[in-house]
Assembly symmetry: C2
Homo-oligomer: 367 residues x 2
């Protein structure tokens, strides 16, 4: 397997020294930044994540910060989700679409104050879209990327570990809400969130200089909890139906196709870019949608390109993420399937690079 | 060295099958797409590039296509370079800046027709900036990423190889101009350009389906020319002073800091975003600027982060690209140096991860 070549352009993170010391074996690049993909093995990392607690360098979830009188107006322009009732201290998962309703990103919006937001982004330079729109509309808002690097703590022992470093109060933070907690004299935003189904937190580490001190503090505090460096796990996230922007959806897809219609209040989201297009889609419904797909046979190879989904030789969809699940004893996959074949139980074929496989469309994800 | 993990999100190119068959050993990710970095070794690839001819998968130079009545107006909004006199058939290197004059990209603009342009981008999602601005200004223009993947042919034997596949007329294409040439019934844009100082062409391969047929045709036609798969070469591009967006400049830098002032006609570029900021910079001059820097001692390690440049213990700049040059027998580097120390011959120190090195600011690049 080819190595990844170092350069300044593929940015290191405030936690890279810790990641390297932990023996990272694989990387991907996410928002032009290093994102670890494997430490021991994807399977061993998966087992450990489900049984213990891991610290993840997800600094690549860069923040787009909006500050100023028009910050609230701008963030509502970006998403069809109705943000009017959103209070300070909340985190909302927000589909972000262009004027045609195509997904540009699927970030988490963090409302810090009435006129100050962070948008914690998936893999696209959303900063440039937001800056372009703000400039074109001459909005009174500052848009930039602050020195904020998320560090995730995930797994069944996440609450125990976090309490040791931040105190018991951190355990009272509810899902998709945040509080501010002290670390070495800094007040850090900590949300109960994360890209796994095992529970845990995301610490918005403000100031690169405290990255490694915090990393080390978590590792030391959790040694008897078997804490380890980890990373978003391919198998676990597919089991849980956590979509990946760029893998399972692109700007070709509407939120409705991605199964994110429940996050769209398009009628209410006055001023939202793409509103006309999405009202049309909401009315007619999508013709294809994300589905869980079970693929029979031996463990599948890594899905590094679209695998066509066919029925009687005709293309009816595509698989975009797949892995063998030890816990469910089958190949778990995420795909986009046309409405003619999206009902649970429909038998299809998946054209992998190693040949066709029989597969079944499911009514939901595994975990 | 950690491997790069495969996923659909890190896109393969129309030439990836050829790249893999040629034994690629290293990749980077550029515009969310695979870009090869090494085949035999960086040094061996360098030698071969300078002596023979290589075919490069630079599909990651994605195109932003502008089409429609406002295409010309929009492209002029994007850059301080005056495009009024630019004729169809020309390619212009254009700094692209935000409203503060910060570099967002340093692409090549290709004028296909009066109302149709390609912007062949460096590593940032310029598409989102252009779409955002076009939307904000309600311009009458279509902005998207077409199925166009550049394939570069670089090296002293580039003319010979290209003539065999496209006919002798391709040799008449002048520097930074393009013509249309036939391959298997398709009319392809071919420019005399490329990210090396060895001469050659960039073929804008329109239609992924002819990617491998063209790759194979070039390899077969050039077997006696010792043609090989290659890629932008770190050593050669530093010797030649070819800057890399994300490495040697970011959105923190103005074009003037990057030594790109000669591409700015800011006074004349009416309507250009960032004009006010750049007029100010043009008047006062930058306080730091890109320089060639020669670093003494053993071959330097790979520059995967900023290396501070100091003088008497005080920071006066940074190195962002560096490599040992076999031909010049020294370490060649690109950095940004403050005006107090940017004169040729100034002695400085470079703080590499392996310790400080003596270095000299030069009056120009090596090749």
């Amino acid at each position: 397997m080819p190595v990844i070549s170092p350069s300044r352009r593929v940015r290191r993170t405030p936690f890279s020294d810790g990641v390297e010391a932990a023996g990272v074996k694989g990387y991907t690049v996410y928002n032009r930044m290093l994102l670890p993909t494997v430490f021991e093995s994807v399977e061993a990392d998966y087992r450990h994540l489900k049984d213990h607690v891991q610290v993840w360098d997800v600094a690549c979830e860069r923040q787009v910060e909006l500050r100023g009188p028009d910050a609230g107006r701008l963030v509502q322009m970006l998403t069809p989700r109705d943000l009017r009732g959103m209070e300070t201290g909340r985190c909302f998962y927000v589909p972000i679409v262009d004027e045609t309703g195509g997904m540009l990103n699927d970030p988490v919006a963090v409302k810090l104050e009435e006129d100050r937001w962070w948008i914690s982004i998936a893999d696209s330079d959303l900063l440039l879209w937001v800056k372009g729109v703000a400039y074109g509309y001459r909005l009174d808002v500052l848009v930039d990327e602050p020195d904020v690097s998320p560090l995730a703590v995930q797994g069944p022992q996440a609450d125990a570990l976090m309490a040791r470093v931040f105190g018991d109060a951190v355990g009272k933070v509810k899902f998709f809400r945040f509080g501010r907690f002290d670390f070495q004299g800094r007040s850090l935003v900590i949300a109960r969130s994360g890209y796994s189904k095992q529970g845990g937190f995301e610490i918005y580490v403000e100031g690169s200089d405290i990255g490694m001190p915090l990393w080390n503090a978590l590792m030391e505090a959790g040694s008897d909890l078997q804490v380890r460096a980890g990373c978003p796990n391919l198998i676990e996230r597919i089991e849980g139906g956590l979509l990946s922007y760029g893998n399972d959806m692109t700007d070709d897809n509407t939120p409705h196709e991605c199964g994110l219609g429940r996050f769209c209040d398009t009628q209410a989201a006055i001023g939202c870019i793409g509103r006309d297009a999405l009202l049309r889609v909401a009315k007619e419904g999508p013709v294809q949608q994300v589905r869980a797909i079970e693929i029979t046979g031996d463990p599948v190879p890594r899905c590094d390109r679209v695998w066509p989904v066919t029925s009687k030789g005709e293309r009816v969809g595509q698989v975009t993420s797949a892995a063998h699940s030890p816990d469910f004893g089958t190949n778990v996959a995420i795909g986009m399937v046309r409405m003619t074949h999206w009902d649970a139980g429909t038998q299809v074929q998946v054209q992998t690079p190693e040949g066709p496989r029989d597969a079944t469309v499911r009514d939901g994800f595994w975990a």
